[in-house]
Assembly symmetry: C2
Homo-oligomer: 95 residues x 2
DNA sequence: TGGCAATACCTTGCGATCCGAGGTATTGAA
DNA sequence: TTCAATACCTCGGATCGCAAGGTATTGCCA
């Protein structure tokens, strides 16, 4: 989950709702995260210093835009390595 | 998790402790499941009709040997499809 | 022979987490 | 004017993986 959120925001700064849409589109509806999942996860990542946020108003709607911090970028690389290792292990164990 | 357990037991009937070892070996220590994870999961899968078990004593130690039921085999195929779709989606969303 | 590692089973409780369901507010189209 | 879409948020339930604890046996080694 953290991996997905960090990766989406790494491409470009995004707000919560935008993250949900970006991931849904990138995966052709395969991954459709609930808002009740994403918002708390974003707070968690910000509290952990991996994301930073700022408010912005676009067409009368307020958005909280998230961007990666330096630590967030480092963590993203780690998440990617861990995902690769994990996915490889699952393949090996289930082949 | 279910996917890993079903896949391990599909290769050959196994007991709980053996499942832990099989997966650890297959993944070069990458996946090292806790017993507190595996045993309850096996009960769950048996209760769901995906596994069947029988007792056996080997060198003075009793083992509960699990094997896949027909439904378990069907479920395994489904789990494999779902894993493939999921892994592909993660790749797409994080590339 | 005494003790410890390995084998093998099991249960309990904590923490994390994902989601569904509900709530608020705005814009824009039908 | 009403409804879908956009956009935020919170709460509670259910699940789940694990650490930690427990029991019992075998077999090795000091």
């Amino acid at each position: 989950m953290d991996f997905l959120l960090l990766a989406a925001i790494a491409r470009q700064p995004l707000h919560g709702y935008g993250v949900v849409e970006a991931i849904r589109q990138a995966t052709g509806n395969e991954l459709d995260l609930a808002e009740g999942t994403v918002y708390p996860a974003l707070y968690r990542l910000e509290r952990a210093g991996l994301l930073a946020s700022s408010w912005k108003t676009v067409r009368g709607r307020r958005r909280r835009i998230y961007r990666l911090t330096r630590r967030g970028r480092t963590r993203l690389e780690r998440e990617r390595r861990e995902w690769t290792a994990f996915a490889g292990a699952v393949e090996a164990a289930t082949a």
